[in-house]
């Protein structure tokens, strides 16, 4: 399978007054062509920073990409010149953010925001770009696109704004769309619509999608593979069905148990993970999850476990006997 994106041993640090915050700490994953991959973790685990690193959008100072490789279609993004990376941003890799209302320019019409990208990246004439922007809005399911294209962002609801963002992201037929918490700010009914739309675009256009989220429930039925991130690195990864049915890292198991489920009988008590995620400026020696783990052993506090294959395509970073976990 051809890989669109391969991240290897990525490290991104922020130099702050509190010390060096290791936001991304040895992160490795890949996305195949046309694949939909989920990156799941709680706030502050480095999932957004890792996405920003892919497009080299880390603010410097205080952020520095310290090492690793980000291979996009055979070239290492970290070695490209500013002009070359500009060519990739928005054109080959597009990004969709959490808050559509702050990502869209409030004083420009939707048409202007769409045609801007089309003229800049695809070299269209202004007339061609206008026709294309209506087509894109129709593609993402905005009714009455011909009229709505003249409207301004505040005239759209949150869900519709996110559709516009997706239209902009699709405008250059990118190879990869990175969606950072694309549905978090939206209502549950709209959330389902947006995820259906992303899944549909990937079916129809063959675009690979990376969905970054804190919500294990949201992505369950949409992603092919899943990466669970904790304190800057991946603790478990594998095929989605396998991870949900057979989680092998104590953190993944804890996450799945700590959310109440609608389809299960009501339980009296939730089985929650105690404690808090570690401060990324003062990571513990050894496994970053060791302080909250109920299976913790002496070894976990001394040595950081690396990803190892437990079954075909299913990786986890944990020393505890995989068969004794569930």
């Amino acid at each position: 399978m051809e890989k669109v994106l391969e991240v290897k041993e990525l490290r991104t640090n922020f130099y702050t007054d509190e010390g060096i915050v290791k936001a991304v700490n040895g992160l490795s994953y890949h996305i195949n062509k046309g694949e939909c991959v989920g990156l799941v973790g709680e706030s502050g685990c480095g999932k957004s920073v890792s996405a920003m690193s892919v497009l080299r959008l880390i603010p410097y100072p205080p952020g520095v990409i310290e090492g690793g490789e980000i291979n996009f279609k055979g070239r290492n993004i970290l070695e490209l010149s500013e002009e070359e990376i500009q060519e990739i941003r928005g054109n080959k890799i597009s990004m969709i953010f959490q808050e559509p209302s702050t990502s869209l320019n409030p004083v420009l019409s939707i048409e202007r925001q769409l045609t801007e990208t089309l003229e800049l990246h695809r070299g269209m004439t202004s007339k061609e770009a206008k026709t294309e922007s209506v087509r894109l809005l129709e593609l993402v399911g905005i009714p009455d696109a011909e009229r709505r294209v003249k409207d301004y962002p505040h005239q759209f609801s949150g869900g519709m704004q996110q559709r516009v963002m997706i239209a902009i992201a699709l405008s250059c037929s990118p190879d990869l769309i990175i969606a950072d918490e694309p549905t978090t700010a939206l209502d549950v009914t709209v959330q389902a619509q947006i995820l259906e739309l992303l899944a549909d675009m990937r079916e129809r256009l063959g675009t690979a999608v990376l969905i970054i989220t804190h919500n294990l429930g949201v992505v369950a039925r949409y992603v092919d593979r899943l990466h669970v991130m904790y304190a800057g690195s991946i603790v478990e990864s594998g095929l989605t069905d396998e991870i949900y049915a057979n989680p092998k890292h104590p953190y993944t198991i804890g996450l799945l148990k700590s959310v109440p489920r609608l389809d299960k009988p009501k339980t009296k008590d939730l089985d929650v993970i105690e404690g808090m995620p570690p401060n990324l400026a003062r990571l513990p020696e050894g496994c970053p999850f060791s302080e909250r783990c109920r299976f913790v052993m002496d070894q976990c506090r001394e040595e950081k476990p690396v990803l190892e294959e437990v079954s075909e395509g299913h990786f986890r970073a944990c020393f505890y006997d995989a068969d004794k976990l569930n």
Partner: protein, 326 residues
């Protein structure tokens, strides 16, 4: 049994409209019908969940009950007394009985006050304790919500989101209320922390015999914590039933589509569920549809739905539905 339990809060025909002023003369040109004639009750020691999408009026309902918004009409009977008619000192004394936990733990704590002062303030305001007695009470409250008494000297910025929410809960508890409105109290928190706070709220309810109105957009969480659940749409309650019935036997078409949109964190289960995609967006509460507010998006709508007002009907076993098609 619960049937005979005394009612603590009784809301009857509550209406809260917000006027819209526009033009040079700032004339009243319309109204936002945030809460539009709703009635329900909460028994002593019971938790009533209130769910709905953003803008449906659930927060305004909570605030109107506490008289933090002035209701346009209707009555709120708290412990046998009508709050709407109360004023001044009488209302102030009544307020110590009712508290509110807010959504955003970053915005709801005064950054210039230390934690001890934040938690102790309601005790001072209501003249319930001072001096050493107050300090002891604060320490006691901190322990109750799972924080160390030493933390009383620290300031909000030194705490994480989950810890701040615990401080907010301690403040709500300090005046020994009998009724607490939790307005999206766990929505801003990470999955693993959210579980901890839900557990804490349930523990406190049992220890202190509290009554909750639990407002949230998250149906899974609401069902877990509540005894009964009310579903709101465009300022009206469309269904009230027990938390067991809401998933196993939902009746109102809106409840059914809302439930179908809630993701289940298990792809094997989630893929088998049919999503009912609602057409279009929620209509504006400035000019809500006539008759049943949901008829513009309802799959079961018939001609009479647009003209007939729907009242909650008793379907037996504490199940009330505002739809004559079921």
């Amino acid at each position: 049994m619960a049937e005979q339990q005394e009612k603590l809060v009784e809301v009857e025909n509550l209406v809260t409209y917000f006027p819209i002023f526009s033009g040079v003369l700032q004339k009243k040109t319309g109204e936002v019908k945030a809460v539009d004639d709703i009635s329900f009750f909460i028994r002593k020691g019971e938790t009533l969940g209130l769910v709905g999408e953003s803008g449906c009026g659930k927060t305004t309902t909570g605030r109107s009950i506490l008289k933090l918004e002035e209701p346009t009409s209707g009555s709120v009977i708290f412990d046998g007394k009508n709050l709407i008619e109360m004023e001044g000192e009488e209302l102030r004394r009544m307020r110590s009985q009712m508290q509110l936990i807010f959504q955003d733990p970053f915005a709801s704590l005064n950054p210039r006050m230390n934690v001890g002062d934040i938690i102790g303030e309601p005790l001072e305001v209501h003249n319930l304790a001072k001096g050493k007695e107050l300090r002891d009470k604060v320490n006691d409250l901190l322990e109750k919500v799972g924080l160390a008494p030493e933390m009383a000297e620290r300031y909000p910025h030194e705490f994480s989101g989950g810890q701040r929410q615990r401080i907010g809960i301690a403040r709500a508890l300090s005046a020994s209320p009998s009724f607490i409105v939790c307005d999206e109290a766990v929505s801003a928190l990470d999955v693993s922390i959210q579980g901890q706070i839900i557990k804490l709220l349930i523990k406190l309810r049992e220890e202190l015999n509290l009554t909750y109105l639990f407002i949230s957009h998250d149906l899974s969480v609401v069902r877990h914590i509540s005894d009964r659940v009310a579903v709101m749409y465009l300022g009206k309650i469309v269904e009230i039933t027990t938390s067991d019935q809401i998933y196993s036997n939902p009746k109102h078409p809106y409840t059914i589509s809302l439930l179908s949109a809630v993701p289940i964190p298990d792809p094997a289960v989630d893929r088998t569920r049919k999503r009912i995609m609602l057409k279009g967006d929620v209509p504006s509460p400035i000019n809500p549809p006539s008759g049943c507010p949901f008829h513009t998006r309802c799959q079961m709508a018939v001609e009479t739905c647009s003209s007939l007002d729907q009242k909650l009907r008793n379907m037996g076993e504490e199940h009330w539905v505002a739809c004559d098609q079921v």
